[in-house]
Symmetry: C2
Subunit: 137 residues, 2 copies
């Protein structure tokens, strides 16, 4: 199975992992790295490299970073090594859930990355007045 | 100034608020509601209504929910009252930062919501091999 690693500012990564597992139940090969203090990130390169290695069982790893160009993104890109990885920046909960769902039935890393992003785009939207009213309790 | 309220599973909302403020510094009229236990959400409707009221200084409020149809989304939609609100589902960190930036200079709620989503789409992407190599340390 394709692995998934989330890395983000603060505890955004571990909270995102928990939110996915709240929806889908506990998941294998899903890891989160929290970048609490951007200035003290040296050891996080080692931690990220280790986690990517652990999550790569031969099918590669999807790496999710919260924001392009931020410290978590730089740590991710500096830790990919020789592993087959697709890196997705600017993740959302729906994009993560889509990836976690698709990797059960597909081993095509690039395809899952593309579909994860597509779902993230599709489900990031402004709710219409009708939708707002319809869902109100 | 337009207010912003984030509501999400676990501590995703408060961690997102912290991440925005890590990037932009402390912000006024920005609130987070954490939905820790979906089953015990009754009091959260009151809390959400109060927070929306506090964040609406006459220009309206942007409400960000992590996932359409989830408990946080339902709580948000049940708490809008008569306030001018735009609700955005499936947020990402870049979408939040864009909204927090734009509300400094604009009071057009629908326009900021649309541009926040546009930025969220634009910055949720698969990094190319060249980008990955170029950013590696």
């Amino acid at each position: 199975m394709i692995g998934m690693v989330i890395i983000a500012h603060g505890r955004l990564a571990s909270e995102s992992k928990q939110a996915i597992e709240h929806v889908m139940g506990e998941l294998p090969l899903l890891a989160a790295i929290d970048v609490i203090n951007s200035d003290a990130s040296d050891h996080l390169y080692d931690e990220m490299s280790t986690v990517i290695k652990q999550c790569d069982t031969g099918s590669g790893v999807l790496v999710f970073v919260d924001m392009f160009g931020g410290t978590p993104c730089n740590i991710a890109l500096g830790s990919l090594g020789d592993h087959a990885c697709e890196v997705i920046s600017g993740f959302s909960l729906p994009s993560l859930i889509k990836a976690a769902t698709l990797r059960k039935s597909s081993r095509n890393l690039a395809e899952i990355a593309a579909q994860s992003i597509q779902a993230g785009h599709q489900y990031m939207r402004q709710l219409s007045e009708d939708t707002k009213k319809g869902l109100r309790l």
